[in-house]
């Protein structure tokens, strides 16, 4: 019952909620980021990170570090935290935690299929996959020739199976169709997650609805901007938008007919939360849009921690860690390529 979750939440979720709040206290602060931005080379970065929670993961790396190594080891910490929480969780928290990783599973599937299309080696592709999205038969994806085979051979045993009903065709896989497949799968996943959270009810449903609606709207804008000037028809574009969120259904109607960024801006400025995002960009500029969306997302994720006794803190923690890893990747790349002036272009401070 909404408002009385405090009475029974701690039976199954109290310990894990306290653990995830402890992890949140270990996220890098603005002071850490300032130190990292001052570093001269990647060994300095490793030294600064050894004082944070990433220390044990990086300390055994040999000296000529690469940025990919740093990112890989930091991702390993996220995976360890997640696996620890997943093995302690009971229903429905365990299902909730698994839902968080389906997005990575979709990305991994698309990565392998695209890589196979371009004649890459399967082992090399498997190493690039995100560890949270691995499943057992992932290597067999390289064998499939079209989507029907993809489904029948591999995906029917995975949790992604129900999301495939909308995109099974016998067309051969090419770059365009793969992107459409990715977006269709992600749309089905977001809607399923949304329904699941609504079923959980209470504070979880309220906070997750807000976070997922923002995600759906952000994807709609990105799909629109990326498909301007391509062969994607308006109807196809409209099919890729999720059926929930602030923009549903009228915003989607407007976005479907947009042909350039200024029309997108005009369509979005009718919604106050997105109007404030677009106000940060001057006309005609779209590079900073990603950063503006990330900043807004981080703000909402931090707000999820203000309430106790709900599951959205787990989702928020995972997303904040991923944002932190993105920040670390950007900082490492800037430092490695000696372009420290551009560091603040894309780092989103969490605290």
């Amino acid at each position: 019952m909404y408002g009385f979750e405090a009475l029974t939440f701690n039976i199954h979720g109290g310990y894990l909620e306290a653990i995830v709040r402890g992890h949140r206290g270990g996220l890098l602060t603005a002071a850490d980021y300032n130190n990292l931005c001052q570093c001269e080379n990647l060994d300095d970065i490793k030294m600064h990170l050894s004082a944070t929670e990433y220390g044990p993961y990086l300390q055994n790396e040999p000296s000529p570090l690469h940025t990919t190594t740093i990112v890989e080891k930091c991702t390993l910490k996220l995976v360890d935290d997640y696996k620890h929480m997943l093995c302690q969780a009971t229903e429905p928290l365990s299902t909730f935690l698994e839902y968080i990783t389906y997005g990575h599973m979709i990305d991994n599937v698309v990565l392998i299929v695209t890589g196979t299309l371009h004649e890459r080696d399967v082992q090399e592709l498997l190493e690039k996959c995100h560890p949270l999205g691995m499943f057992d038969s992932i290597a067999t994806l390289a064998v499939a020739q079209n989507m029907r085979e993809l489904y029948r051979l591999v995906l029917v045993d995975t949790p992604l199976a129900p999301y495939f009903s909308e995109c099974i065709t016998s067309d051969d896989l090419d770059d365009m169709n793969i992107e459409i497949m990715r977006n269709t799968l992600y749309k089905a996943y977001l809607e399923d997650f949304y329904r699941f959270c609504q079923k959980l009810g209470g504070a979880t449903a309220e906070i997750m609805s807000d976070l997922l609606a923002f995600e759906a709207d952000r994807r709609a804008v990105n799909i629109t901007i990326n498909s301007i000037g391509t062969e994607l028809t308006r109807d196809d574009r409209r099919k890729l938008y999720s059926n929930f969120g602030l923009l549903y259904p009228y915003g989607h109607e407007e976005l479907a007919v947009c042909e350039d960024i200024d029309q997108v801006r005009a369509a979005m400025e009718k919604y106050p939360p997105y109007q404030s995002i677009f106000a940060k960009l001057s006309y005609g500029e779209s590079q900073m849009l990603d950063k503006a969306f990330y900043e807004e997302e981080v703000k909402r994720l931090c707000l999820a921690f203000e309430q106790q006794f709900h599951y959205a803190v787990f989702f928020a923690y995972m997303r904040l860690r991923e944002q932190e890893i993105r920040n670390l990747m950007w900082i490492s790349e800037c430092v490695a390529q000696n372009q420290k002036s551009r560091v603040h272009d894309s780092v989103v401070f969490i605290f």
Binding site: N10, I11, G14, A18, R21, G25, Q308
Partner: protein, 181 residues
């Protein structure tokens, strides 16, 4: 008996209630006072304890201070035991003829009410202190200056149980059974 003569016009429910022995009411009152108080205390302790255990993994320093929350919840159970002991000393035997005398009924009802007052006041007090204790542990883990301030909220919360005990004892003090004449 005079009571049944008075109530011969009333509904059958009121006649049924009046026919229940005051000893039954007293015994149930005593059982509720201890049973429901302990329920409240246990509920509060597990709410605080689970959060405290999880938060103490990252911040071991919070454990000793936050045991105060558990102690406040435990106090609630102790109130229940004390009042149950006081109530059971109020039980006296009366001769068969005066079991349903108005004096006896009054004494029985007073003990019953006292038990309910104490039991349910302690139930909600235990819950209140438990939930605040859980938030206190989690906040203390992030920022140690918050502990004392949230403790003040807990102290106000634990006063609720005390109110229940005071009123319960006053109620039971005037539970006097008719003298054995």
């Amino acid at each position: 008996m005079s009571s049944s003569a008075m109530l011969s016009e009333a509904s059958s429910w009121s006649r049924a209630l009046v026919k229940i022995s005051p000893y039954t009411f007293s015994a149930v009152g005593i059982a509720i006072s201890i049973g429901v108080s302990v329920l409240g205390a246990a509920w509060g302790i597990y709410i605080t304890g689970s959060s405290l255990i999880g938060a103490a993994i990252k911040e071991p320093r919070i454990t000793s201070k936050n045991l105060i929350s558990v102690i406040f919840c435990e106090a609630v159970a102790i109130y229940g035991v004390i009042v149950a002991i006081i109530l059971q000393t109020k039980l006296e035997s009366v001769p068969q003829a005066s079991i349903y005398a108005p004096e006896s009924l009054r004494a029985g009802y007073a003990i019953f009410a006292s038990g309910i007052i104490v039991g349910f006041a302690n139930l909600v007090c235990g819950l209140c202190v438990g939930i605040i204790g859980s938030s206190c542990a989690l906040s203390d883990a992030q920022n140690s200056t918050l502990f004392v301030k949230i403790l003040v909220i807990e102290i106000f919360g634990s006063a609720l149980g005390l109110f229940g005990v005071i009123v319960g004892i006053i109620m039971s003090a005037q539970a006097s059974w008719p003298s054995k004449v």
